[in-house]
């Protein structure tokens, strides 16, 4: 990698701030002709509060700054030599009677020769506001980020291609978002001693959409398509379990359920999930699997966190200090994967799972017809075409949560006492982390954590992961 870099700064009386910069980078990961990228950035700020005309307002508005920026950034998110097809050798465990492992040569999958930089353009506007001697501070920021020439699998190719599809710089993604921070910090005398307190709130949200994608003109749902919001979850509609065997039998005669019936060792019965035939064609299915013809599926929700927020309150008085921090998100969803043993229990793989203590109260039987989970059948969450494995609305989990992330209480012994024994400061404190959490996810499985499931990407993790820990810490802090 080689790079050239330049920067220009200008500051006029602390009121007008301008910065220009540019990079010109070349990378050996790309082929000749696609190696070099130019990435300029610019930013400007106007400190309105420093203007002469602003003086009358200064006692109330101590700081007011408007800023805007445009920046570009290059990503070289490909592996080394990605544009060269290479043959690599290895030992296989296959033998040809030679008393040693056979050597195998394999060629790397084809790659596009024109791979190049991904460019990220970010437009940003911001407002900094300080009121009442900066006791009240507000920062607001809004941005649009365009990722251009995003490196994606060129298209889903039919399996007859025989290798993984080559990657190409063929998609654009746009992310729009905002971040707001509001804080209040003050101090007054209470019974002759200073009482300090502060409140800080922050709020942010974003959404990303595919704005260009060359490889999916028919808008196949399982691939990116223009207009797709990242994280969207497509699934079927399930509103109820069958009440009676007769209802199940009639419905399964009326509607072809074979798309969701793998691992069923007996016919549909009372207590099985009822998939709704949304498009009324008499078949539960995915239609043409396109946005315009998604069969009986619809967008059930989005898996990416929406509306993240946090709130902190801190107090200190008479050597005592206290702070509490809440954190949370708005609605976002998760469909428990086949190997989520804590959630599915024996509906996944009965030979390997455990039966959690409170599971059976949620499982349907003739005396428990309002149960959440259907009648007991092994493997129906594990097998790929089975009724709980297909994403559906009934078992989609809302991972919205509010978490008491941190509580700290401390007491600092007055320094005038401690200094006598040569100690600068002694503070004893208690900190608790993850003390409590509220989430709709806990309605049917108290053992999962709304933050952990999002990271729950691998099978082994899903089978047995550690829940997020509660930490309680008592400490003493001595400074000499």
């Amino acid at each position: 990698m080689l790079g050239f870099f330049g920067r220009f700064n200008y500051d006029y009386k602390g009121r007008y701030l301008v910065e220009l910069s540019g990079r010109y980078d070349g990378s050996s990961r790309f082929a000749t002709g696609h190696r070099w990228g130019f990435f300029p950035s610019a930013s400007a700020g106007w400190r309105i509060s420093e203007e002469p005309f602003f003086k009358p307002a200064k006692p109330v508005v101590s700081n007011l700054k408007l800023r805007g920026s445009f920046g570009t950034l290059g990503n070289q998110v490909v592996s080394n030599y990605a544009y060269i097809r290479t043959v690599s050798l290895s030992n296989s465990d296959y033998l040809f009677g030679e008393g040693s492992y056979a050597r195998s040569a394999s060629i790397s999958a084809p790659n596009a020769g024109d791979l190049t930089w991904e460019t990220v353009q970010q437009y940003n506007v911001g407002l900094d506001l300080g009121l009442l001697k900066d006791r009240l501070q507000f920062t607001g920021e809004a941005y649009i980020r365009n990722t251009l020439g995003m490196l994606v699998q060129s298209a889903e190719l039919p399996a007859v291609y025989g290798a993984s599809a080559p990657k190409q710089n063929s998609a654009n993604l746009q992310t729009r978002g905002f971040e707001l921070t509001l804080s209040w910090k003050d101090q007054f005398n209470l019974f002759g001693y200073p009482f300090g307190y502060g409140i800080s709130l922050n709020l942010s949200d974003y959404a990303s959409y595919i704005t260009k994608y060359d490889n999916n003109p028919t808008k196949i749902v399982s691939d990116h398509y223009v207009g797709r919001r990242l994280g969207e979850i497509w699934g079927f509609e399930v509103n109820k379990l069958f009440d009676t065997d007769l209802e199940a039998q009639r419905y399964s005669e009326e509607v072809d359920l074979s798309y969701v019936s793998e691992a069923m060792a007996s016919p549909w019965q009372a207590g099985d999930v009822k998939y709704e035939d949304l498009n009324g064609d008499g078949v539960i299915g995915v239609g043409a699997n396109t946005v315009d013809d998604p069969g009986d599926r619809r967008i059930l929700g989005n898996e990416l966190p929406s509306l993240s927020y946090g709130a902190t309150l801190s107090l200190d008085y008479f050597g005592f200090d206290f702070s509490i921090f809440f954190q949370g998100t708005g609605d976002h969803y998760w469909y428990p994967p086949r190997w989520s043993f804590p959630f599915w229990g024996p509906f996944s793989n009965p030979m390997q799972t455990f039966l959690r203590r409170d599971f059976l109260k949620d499982v349907w039987d003739y005396n428990n017809k309002n149960a959440y989970f259907p009648r007991a059948r092994g493997y129906i969450a594990e097998a790929s075409g089975a009724s709980l494995n297909r994403v559906n609305s009934r078992y989609l989990q809302n991972c919205r949560y509010l978490r008491l992330k941190n509580v700290t209480v401390g007491y600092t012994v007055p320094p005038k006492w401690t200094k006598k024994i040569g100690i600068e400061k002694i503070r004893v404190f208690f900190t608790g982390e993850n003390m409590a959490c509220w989430s709709p996810l806990f309605d049917h499985c108290a053992y999962l954590d709304p933050e952990a499931v999002a990271h729950d990407s691998s099978e082994t993790q899903g089978r047995s992961f550690y829940p997020w820990q509660k930490n309680f810490m008592f400490g003493i802090d001595i400074q000499f």
Binding site: Y94, G97, E156, G162
Partner: protein, 606 residues
């Protein structure tokens, strides 16, 4: 002066830019680029080596069918109407073909004409096998003969080609393989494909296609044959011709030391493949930790509990060549009586009373091990004798080489093809099937006797193959019997059911041993009870196994009858659907021109 400066600066800039560009030309140091590979025989060998592991079947003893069930029954046997179309995969994988086509497309880089000829032939051999697997499974499939680029939309989104088109290409590939593969290798081993392996494969494929078309004639939904398509007879004739060429010209011969009660079993349990009989085989070596699971499957409860069914045992003739079905009361004989005085291959294929297995000087009777078998019967073929090298009754500790194609199958192909063509003679039987009979110490199969009075067991709609008709009905059935007996557990049975249109046997033949009711069973007559069946409370008798009827073991008539393996499952086969497998859903979504096989519901509306 100024001019010179500018020129200098321009030149310096250009030089610098050029140097930068060169500095960025980095090539990998630990791998070879495509352009400098495929240049000699060794490189071609390394590139084609993985095809053996990818395409040759390596666990034939695991195949489930009407003659073998396991504790987790294959979805082919039990899922019935709940068999669903896979989203992806489902053997619709094409990476092996890509490897073959990549190699073929790069052969021009090799300057050694001998190597080019050999590896061209080897690639064609594997391409034929690859497409044979695809045709067996899916019927019509797209034909792809070169390494595809991602821009070749016409080829990538191609509809399925008629199986006749594919078979024509398969035959071309096989003929190139037969012409170009070596007749033998320097080490005398049969772990690599030879001309004879290609001939045998041709015989196998042509027999498959010939019988498939013959017995599925009229099932028009299964295929779209062009008017010019070859007939079933054409394929059968090619099968017979290929088999005859191998029989007449190859150096392969049956393993036979003149011991009919041991030779058959020894052939399969020997550490080293018998290069006389095995035409193509897979090498295993304990010291290289490359083992398979045949002994584990037979001897250990946790390895799948593969269990032969009664249907297998009933196929065997009596030792004197007479039919078991003419023995009075044959259907309800107990285990010891049932297996006594049968074709000697029976006790070399399943374990019979008196069978002992020794592991580390610990000998134990192991012939009706109800912890392992679901039917009462257990596999013996492929089980290695105990030795000091390794305990065999552990998962993946068997290192006897596995046959992929052996001469006996070629004999059976030859006889079956000629019988189906109605050109079979007694001499044909004598140079093929009767060699197998003689090795096993069995009387010869006589053409006219067989046709004069077909075995009712084999014609019966409940136990046999009722769709076999014609003047050769009797001998065709006897050849099928011979195939069942000789090729047991060699991975050919499910395919045989498909090509004979006998899939319904799946639904009617899954039964085990007969039990007349509760009681103590001592099959080897040593006075110790081998198995105690009871109802009600557990008896105090000392027995190796005590099983409660209706709880631990299930019988067809409740308190008596044949053992029902996998009691909670229903064995099913849908003749309108299950002769072909479904194409995975994602593939049809991507390529609407791929039409789904008949009667498979995949949730797509086109």
């Amino acid at each position: 002066m100024r001019k010179i400066n500018i020129l200098w600066m321009a030149a310096a800039t250009l030089l610098f830019a050029n140097a930068c560009e060169k500095a960025l030309n980095k090539y990998p140091l630990d791998t070879v680029s495509e352009e400098s590979y495929f240049e000699n025989a060794t490189q071609l060998q390394f590139f084609t080596n993985p095809l053996y592991a990818a395409i040759l079947p390596d666990a034939p003893y695991d195949e489930q069918s009407d003659l073998m069930v396991a504790v987790n029954p294959s979805s082919l046997l039990v899922n019935g109407s709940y068999r669903t179309v896979p989203t992806s995969g489902g053997s619709w994988t094409w990476s092996d073909l890509r490897r073959i086509n990549t190699c073929l497309g790069n052969l021009h880089r090799c300057s050694d004409p001998v190597a080019v000829k050999e590896y061209n032939a080897l690639c064609k051999f594997f391409r034929a096998w690859f497409y044979y697997n695809k045709v067996r499974r899916f019927g019509d499939v797209p034909w792809i003969d070169h390494e595809l680029a991602s821009t070749e939309t016409e080829a990538l989104y191609r509809p399925r080609d008629s199986r006749e088109v594919i078979m024509t290409h398969i035959l071309e590939d096989l003929d190139e393989a037969i012409a170009g593969l070596p007749v033998s290798y320097a080490n005398g081993k049969t772990y690599r494909a030879t001309k004879w392996a290609a001939l045998a494969l041709k015989a196998r494929i042509c027999l498959f296609e010939g019988t498939f078309r013959k017995y599925h004639k009229g099932d028009i939904t299964l295929w779209t044959l062009p008017a010019t398509a070859r007939s079933a007879e054409d394929y059968l004739q090619m099968a017979a011709t290929a088999a005859a060429e191998l029989i007449d010209h190859s150096p392969h011969k049956l393993y036979n030391t003149g011991n009919p009660h041991a030779d058959y079993q020894t052939l399969f349990s020997e550490y080293q493949a018998n290069a006389g009989e095995y035409i193509l085989s897979i090498d295993y070596d304990y010291s290289l930790n490359t083992c398979h699971d045949a002994s584990g499957v037979a001897l250990v409860a946790a390895c799948g509990r593969n269990s032969p069914t009664r249907g297998l045992i009933d196929h065997y003739l009596m030792a004197d060549g007479t039919r078991y079905s003419s023995v009075s009361g044959w259907e309800t004989k107990n285990f010891a009586e049932q297996v006594a005085n049968r074709d000697p291959r029976l006790h070399q294929t399943i374990r019979i009373p008196g069978y002992n297995y020794t592991v580390l000087s610990n000998t134990r009777a192991q012939y009706c091990d109800m912890e392992i078998t679901l039917t009462g019967y257990s596999m013996n073929k492929f089980v290695m004798p105990a030795d000091n090298l390794a305990m065999k009754d552990i998962r993946d500790r068997s290192y006897n080489d596995m046959p992929v194609i052996r001469l006996a199958e070629v004999y059976l192909i030859f006889a079956e093809a000629k019988a189906e063509l109605e050109t079979l003679t007694q001499t044909d039987l004598d140079i093929s099937v009767n060699k197998l009979r003689r090795r096993a110490g069995m009387p010869d199969l006589n053409l006219s006797d067989a046709n004069a009075a077909p075995d009712p067991y084999l014609t019966s709609p409940s136990t046999g193959y009722p769709n076999v008709t014609g003047t050769n009905q009797g001998v065709i059935l006897e050849i099928r019997r011979e195939r069942v007996v000789e090729m047991a557990f060699e991975g050919l049975r499910y395919e045989d059911l498909l090509r004979w249109k006998s899939g319904d046997r799946i639904a009617r033949c899954q039964q085990g041993m007969y039990f007349p009711g509760t009681g103590n069973y001592d099959w080897n007559g040593d006075g110790k009870v081998d198995l105690c069946l009871y109802s009600g409370s557990k008896p105090s008798v000392s027995a190796t196994y005590k099983l409660k009827i209706g709880t631990d073991i299930f019988l067809t008539e409740g308190s008596k009858g044949y053992v029902r393996p996998c009691n909670s499952y229903t064995f099913t086969f849908d003749p309108d659907r299950d002769y072909l497998y479904p194409i995975p859903i994602e593939e049809r979504v991507l390529n609407h021109r791929l039409v789904q096989n008949p009667n498979w519901s995949d949730g797509l509306n086109f």
